[in-house]
């Protein structure tokens, strides 16, 4: 049985990332911990079930302990590290989705999705423009139709057209 889990061309790395992630979680936990001293309501003070920060503090303690353990002994991962072109593609795609999300609020679903569906494959190295355009059009229109008319979920609209 062959698996693609471990790719020999990408050595398992990620020690630095593991420590970085653990440190980021610790920083976040510290930030949230500082928030647990916020003022609580009169009702919370009167309640038998302890205040709103009673439970989160236990969890924060667990997060802090496990985060420290992870910083001290990061486990190697078999997920291949993206590098070079791969890293650029992944980062670019994250930004593209952010722009797309912004586009949803500003230009509505149909326009921004059509643009995203045409440009994202191009960016990822797919060069058959006619296929992309056709797939994008059919896909976006059918998804839009399905949501608006079957699921009755009204999607964001552009300020320029009536209806989409």
């Amino acid at each position: 049985m062959k698996t693609h889990d471990t790719d020999p061309t990408h050595p398992p790395g990620g020690r630095a990332i593991a420590i970085g992630v653990a440190l980021a979680i610790l920083a976040l936990a510290a930030l949230l911990f500082s928030q647990t001293f916020a003022e609580i309501s009169a009702f919370a003070r009167a309640s038998q079930g302890r205040g709103p920060f009673f439970y989160p503090r236990f969890i924060l303690a667990a997060v802090a302990l496990l985060g420290l353990l992870m910083v001290l002994r990061p486990v190697p991962t078999d997920e291949p590290m993206p590098s070079g072109a791969g890293l650029r593609r992944a980062t670019g795609l994250v930004l593209a989705v952010a722009v797309y999300a912004l586009g949803l609020s500003l230009a509505g679903f149909l326009i921004s999705s059509l643009l995203f569906a045409c440009l994202a494959p191009l960016f990822l190295g797919y060069r058959r423009l006619a296929v992309t355009a056709l797939v994008a059009a059919v896909f976006c229109l059918s998804v839009w139709y399905l949501f608006e008319n079957a699921f009755l979920i009204i999607l964001p609209r552009s300020p320029w057209f009536d209806g989409f």
Binding site: V135, I154, F164
Partner: protein, 318 residues
């Protein structure tokens, strides 16, 4: 890509485009009613029961959208901040309009809306389990006076009307109860059945749809209810408690008057329609209607009264 695939694709695109042209015109005139609670609850069912008749009267699609969260304030805030073009309105219930507004800072107030109509209003009732030892409100109060804090009162949501009603009961009877926050009517019923809680305050239609397992000790209304003429009120037992649960349609402030009037007409048509009345009858839910102006005055009166109740209980945000 083969030609056949290309042809199929193009054909599909053509069909969809045609469907879109058709659907686009309908969707363009749709009105979205934001229901600030999750689907399947009383507010949601009432709104969905009005949907079809309202659509007929408006000549437009009516879409119900559930935006639950934070005691209903998220959905009501969404409507308050929507474009005031009459296309986004909300079914605003009593809690988010007149109690939550006193409990914390919200991005809206009672003045953020154009009031369209009151769509439902029904009293609440003090309910205990069918096999509870308490037969009357007096039994309950007597027990609570002997054992302060022993009675456990299940609260569907902090700052909700049932919570306010419970506080008002404790205040009027001079008793102490332990408040157990649960997560809605269903879990409150569960708490009664498994013996965790002794009483809670549901809407009367919840009471009748669970008639096999619940008993009402007192209806919180100024007179007997037509749908349940045998059930005694709190007033008859000497406690001045009249606490309804209601809700109505509101549009964001600045919605043109003609749109508001059209919606008001549609709302009245829906509520007086036979299918709506029939469904409410099935749910044993008393129906109610008020026009926009009356509704606005009513909301402001309730707003002041609930402020008083919350203040007495020490729950007001400073």
């Amino acid at each position: 890509m083969t030609f056949r695939k290309f042809a199929t694709g193009t054909f599909a695109a053509g069909v969809i485009a045609a469907a879109l042209l058709h659907a686009g015109t309908a969707a363009a005139q749709s009105v979205t009613i934001v229901v600030p609670f999750s689907a399947g609850g009383g507010t949601d069912i009432t709104t969905r029961s009005m949907q079809e008749e309202m659509a007929n009267s408006l000549g437009a699609n009516v879409v119900v959208k559930n935006t639950a969260g934070a005691g209903g304030t998220i959905g009501v805030a969404e409507a308050a901040r929507a474009r005031p073009d009459g296309r986004t309105i909300a079914m605003a219930p009593v809690g988010p309009l007149t109690t939550q507004t006193h409990l914390r800072k919200l991005p809206y107030s009672v003045d953020s809306f154009e009031y369209i109509c009151l769509a439902y209003s029904a009293p609440t009732a003090i309910a205990v389990g069918k096999d509870s030892e308490f037969e009357t409100l007096e039994d309950l109060v007597a027990h609570a006076k002997e054992n302060p804090g022993d009675l456990t009162f299940a609260v569907q949501a902090i700052g909700s009307i049932p919570h306010v009603a419970g506080l008002a009961l404790a205040d009027a009877a001079g008793i102490e109860m332990t408040f157990l926050p649960v997560d809605g009517d269903g879990p409150a019923l569960k708490a009664l059945l498994d013996g965790t809680a002794d009483l809670f305050i549901p809407h009367v239609s919840f009471l009748s749809s669970n008639a096999d397992q619940l008993r009402s000790l007192a209806i919180l209304k100024d007179g007997r209810l037509d749908t349940m003429p045998d059930e005694v009120t709190a007033m008859e037992q000497g406690y001045d408690l009249d606490i309804p649960i209601w809700g109505g349609l509101v549009a964001p402030k600045g919605t043109p008057a003609e749109q508001v009037t059209a919606l008001e007409t549609a709302c009245e048509a829906a509520i007086s329609s036979a299918p709506f009345q029939e469904r409410m009858d099935q749910l044993q839910q008393p129906t109610a209607y008020m026009n926009g102006a009356d509704f606005e005055a009513f909301v402001k009166k309730q707003f002041d009264r609930n402020r008083g109740l919350l203040e007495k209980a020490g729950l007001l945000a400073e």
